[in-house]
């Protein structure tokens, strides 16, 4: 019997798991996918917003501003790359300057610190490559960039280290509400729990229905992105927004925390909650829009394009409520969900407490999680030492991002470790460089197979069913018996 079951191991679920791991309770974090952060968390703009954009008085406004302030401490504790590079909302006309002033007022009402409206000259100083038409900008120094999946992974890892049980590949099929608790029927087993947190992103309405909460529906909205080579990362210094429209914050141009350039997203309502396909029109649209902000990127430098879904609802605000005694919904967490996630988690924990969850602190809780060793970031003398300790750090597997075998083995063996090719990629960037895994993927498959003790045929790219191979060339061929290199 668990005290709390958190359904959904995205940023919100992982944060709640981490926050609850502080207390002497039995917590389980459940996700239907093979890895943490597989839903909305893994594909978004990777921005920690300042909070000027949200309508004052909304949960979004409150939790974004609160959440933003928490990231320095959290990323320090979790050793997650985070850069507070600031954002600029760029006006391309006189009329847009008015909207920028409105945003400034809104930001002040929301309590966003350090907001400034700047003129054309200052803007050119901050962003020499910005389009000539730019007339001014709203400068928000507190905005930042982060790696969302690394953040969720770090939270999950830290939670597991502090005693949370992680159950992946476990899909919730139904929930039975009992007196004083719940029985969660999953694709694997029945899980008994006293409390439930619904952090299931796009599927929060489905879980809410199982919990018999007041009906709401999650309407997926797609956003498409193009990611450019690290050669282009230096083209901009800040997160560059366009003046927002009712549909969203517009197409942004930003460096990523790893030094690439990212452009996107558009915003298109879709019917299917798992439709993360990009479209010709969508990609064309974001490229054309991004060029209005900054047009010095070359499409030849695109290394990948992708789409993510926002878990939106018609009301426009987050839905954080109690559907039934003992459960808390953290639903409709679309933008600025990532920025708000630590504050959402605090609120969820508070709501659990209000419903009777006893929270007594552990004496052994450790908020600190160290990011795994990164060969690419080391000096030569550090590399020397690392290889002495573990020779596998001396074998470079991903040449584009300089990722070694030692790191891949670590990534698999860590708490909440990698189980898929893309899982290795998200943890270490192996396969995320300019060749996109062309060279290292065969070796990553080999290492996964060896370390997890599963055959090649069972290795998947990302999801169950995402198999890489359809058979053997020769049945008597045994990989690893030495004949591969004969």
């Amino acid at each position: 019997m668990f005290d709390v079951a958190i359904i959904g191991a995205g940023a919100v679920g992982a944060f709640v798991a981490r926050d609850l791991s502080r207390y002497r309770i039995n917590v389980v974090l459940i996700d239907k996918e093979l890895e943490v952060s597989e839903g909305t968390t893994k594909a978004n703009s990777a921005i920690i917003h300042a909070g000027y954009d949200c309508v004052p008085g909304t949960l979004k406004a409150k939790l974004n501003v609160q959440g933003n302030k928490m990231f320095d401490r959290i990323c320090d504790e979790l050793d997650v790359p985070f850069k507070r590079i600031g954002s600029l909302v760029i006006a391309l006309s006189k009329e847009q300057l008015d909207i920028i002033n409105e945003l400034y007022e809104r930001g002040r009402a929301n309590g966003v610190p350090g907001l400034e409206v700047i003129g054309r000259e200052r803007l050119k100083e901050l962003e020499p490559n910005v389009n000539e038409d730019a007339t001014g900008a709203l400068y928000a120094k507190t905005a930042g960039i982060i790696s969302p999946y690394e953040l969720a992974l770090a939270c999950a890892e830290n939670a597991v280290t502090n005693g949370v049980t992680l159950k992946l590949d476990t899909e919730v099929k139904d929930i039975e509400i009992k007196k004083g608790g719940f029985i969660i029927k999953t694709s694997r087993e029945d899980i008994e729990t006293r409390y439930i947190v619904n952090a299931t992103g796009l599927f929060a309405d489905v879980i809410n229905r199982m919990l018999k909460g007041d009906e709401f529906s999650i309407n997926p909205r797609k956003g498409e992105y193009c990611l450019f080579d690290k050669n282009d990362g230096h083209l901009v210094n800040h997160v560059l927004f366009q003046v927002p429209t009712p549909r969203g914050k517009g197409v942004l141009v930003t460096p990523t925390v790893h030094g690439n350039l990212l452009i996107g997203p558009n915003s298109v309502n879709v019917d299917i909650k798992e439709d993360v396909s990009t479209t010709g029109n969508g990609l064309e649209y974001i490229v054309n829009c991004a060029r209005k902000t900054m047009n010095k990127f070359s499409m030849r430098d695109v290394i990948t394009s992708f789409a993510g879904l926002r878990a939106s609802t018609s009301g426009g605000d987050f839905i954080i409520n109690v559907p039934v005694q003992g459960a808390v919904n953290a639903a409709a967490i679309d933008s600025p969900g990532l920025s708000s996630s630590p504050a959402i988690s605090e609120m969820v924990v508070q709501m659990l407490k209000e419903q009777g969850l006893k929270l007594i602190e552990k004496d052994y809780y450790n908020p600190v999680r160290k990011r795994q060793i990164r060969f690419a970031d080391m000096s030569d003398s550090e590399r020397e030492k690392a290889i002495e300790k573990n020779p596998l750090y001396g074998r470079v597997i991903c040449r584009c991002e300089t990722v070694t075998e030692g790191e891949i083995v670590d990534a698999i063996k860590r708490p909440a470790g990698a189980r898929t090719v893309d899982g290795v990629k998200r943890r270490l960037r192996a396969g995320m460089g300019r060749c996109q895994g062309g060279f290292c993927m065969p070796k990553v498959v080999e290492i996964l197979s060896r370390e997890l003790g599963i055959p090649y045929m069972d290795i998947v790219k990302d999801k169950k069913g995402g198999y890489l191979f359809t058979g053997r060339i020769k049945d008597n061929y045994t990989k690893g018996d030495g004949d591969a290199n004969a």
Partner: protein
């Protein structure tokens, strides 16, 4: 650690360069290879057709490589496998790493770059759609099938008619997969004619020119692709959209010389080839750093890689021995009127032998043209070509005498109708 010559890459280019340099009297050579054994990409090229020009016989990739590996061993040339070069500097310091030695620093008198090339991935094409498993580049597929022994799919669509794509079409067919079609966005294939015949025609695999993939379908694994005919501007024509069911998409959409190390050392790259600009001895813009093979320009035939690498080995040996010419007349080469590029980009008359080979590629298919070399005014070489195509590298052999009489220091290689 000090070495006279460090060669980065133990594929066909690096091996040939090492052998030549040793034959020219350089004893202190180290070949560094990132894979666990020598041979480079040839190890996974188990089809034949290699070596016709150099050996006069048809060899498989591993056979061709082995001839050079044997020679390397016979000559006692030192090599380190499973070793990755992390950096080189313009004063020829090489930093490498492996599991046994840790981080190694080597000061070299000369360096030969022979890192080969990499494949263009899906991202570079920006093909819309989902991101399921089952999208492979042709080279990765080749490694899985030929070296690891795994089948990568049952129903396969190939995008791009480059040589590896064509060869994999045959290979996958022989292993029991159904290769439904090969699509080529250009009006012509970028692969060798003989490969189109032997790999597609002989197996009844259709080649659809002026076609591309406009969308990838599938959630976990590829379920199909939408293909389309393209217009003269390579834009897909909506009326021609057609769904093709498949579980695998194989990409053979071009190779890019792998020059990340070259960039670190400040070597000037050619915008068209993607490789270093080189002179007649395959020396780059940084004195004492030479380059050869696919790191310079993507070759069709390994035989040409070998020849080019001999030049680099010879050039490096001369440089180390101090017998390279110094100064003297320098001539720059330029491609124009249908010629996309010319390698080498520079010829030092003092250092060229009796003749120089210019390698070039054209930008389209042309029939009944003259391939001409001139100094802008006087034509010094002219040959009639029945057909030239971007997929087939052309070469021109120029005698030293013919260049000596040039009036300008610019040499134009072009097509004349």
């Amino acid at each position: 650690m000090h070495r006279d010559l460090v060669i980065i890459g133990g594929g066909p280019a690096g091996l040939a360069a090492a052998i030549k340099a040793r034959e020219e009297g350089i004893d202190d050579i180290l070949v560094i290879e990132r894979d666990i054994e020598l041979g480079g990409i040839l190890k996974q090229c188990i089809h034949n057709g290699f070596g016709l020009h150099i050996f006069g016989e048809q060899l498989t990739g591993p056979e061709y490589a082995q001839k050079f590996i044997d020679k390397l061993l016979e000559l006692g040339i030192e090599y380190k496998c499973d070793t990755m070069v992390l950096n080189i500097t313009d004063n020829k310091k090489v930093t490498a790493v492996n599991t046994k030695d840790g981080v190694i620093e080597i000061q070299a008198k000369a360096i030969i770059l022979s890192m080969g090339c990499r494949e263009r991935p899906r991202g570079a094409l920006n093909i819309p759609g989902s991101r399921p498993a089952g999208i492979f580049t042709a080279g990765t597929a080749q490694r899985f099938v030929n070296m690891e022994g795994y089948k990568i799919g049952e129903k396969i669509v190939i995008l791009g008619s480059g040589d590896i794509g064509l060869i994999m079409a045959r290979r996958l067919t022989l292993e029991g997969s159904q290769v439904k079609m090969v699509l080529e966005i250009m009006p012509y294939s970028s692969g060798l004619k003989r490969n189109i015949m032997q790999c597609l025609d002989d197996f009844g695999i259709p080649l659809l020119l002026n076609h591309t993939v406009v969308k990838i379908h599938g959630k976990e694994r590829v379920g199909g692709v939408t293909i389309a005919k393209v217009d003269a501007n390579r834009k897909p024509i909506p009326e021609t959209f057609r769904y093709v069911e498949c579980d695998t998409l194989l990409l053979s959409v071009g190779l890019i010389p792998e020059n990340e190390l070259s960039k670190n050392a400040g070597i000037v790259l050619d915008k068209v080839t993607g490789g270093p600009r080189v002179n007649e001895s395959m020396e780059t813009s940084v004195e004492g750093i030479f380059a050869c093979g696919n790191v310079v320009q993507v070759h069709d035939l390994v035989d040409n890689v070998t020849k080019e690498s001999y030049l680099a080995g010879l050039g490096a040996a001369k440089y180390i021995k101090g017998t390279a010419g110094n100064g003297g007349r320098e001539i720059e080469t330029y491609g124009r009127n249908g010629v996309r590029y010319v390698v080498p980009q520079k010829i030092r008359l003092d250092d060229m032998g009796d003749e120089v080979n210019l390698f070039l590629r054209v930008d389209n298919i042309y029939k009944d043209v003259y391939l001409s070399v001139s100094d802008g005014g006087k034509t010094i070489y002219k040959v009639k070509k029945r057909i030239v195509a971007p997929g087939e590298m052309e070469s021109v052999r120029l005698k030293k005498d013919s260049i000596l009489n040039m009036e300008n220091d610019k040499l134009f290689v072009e097509l004349i109708r």
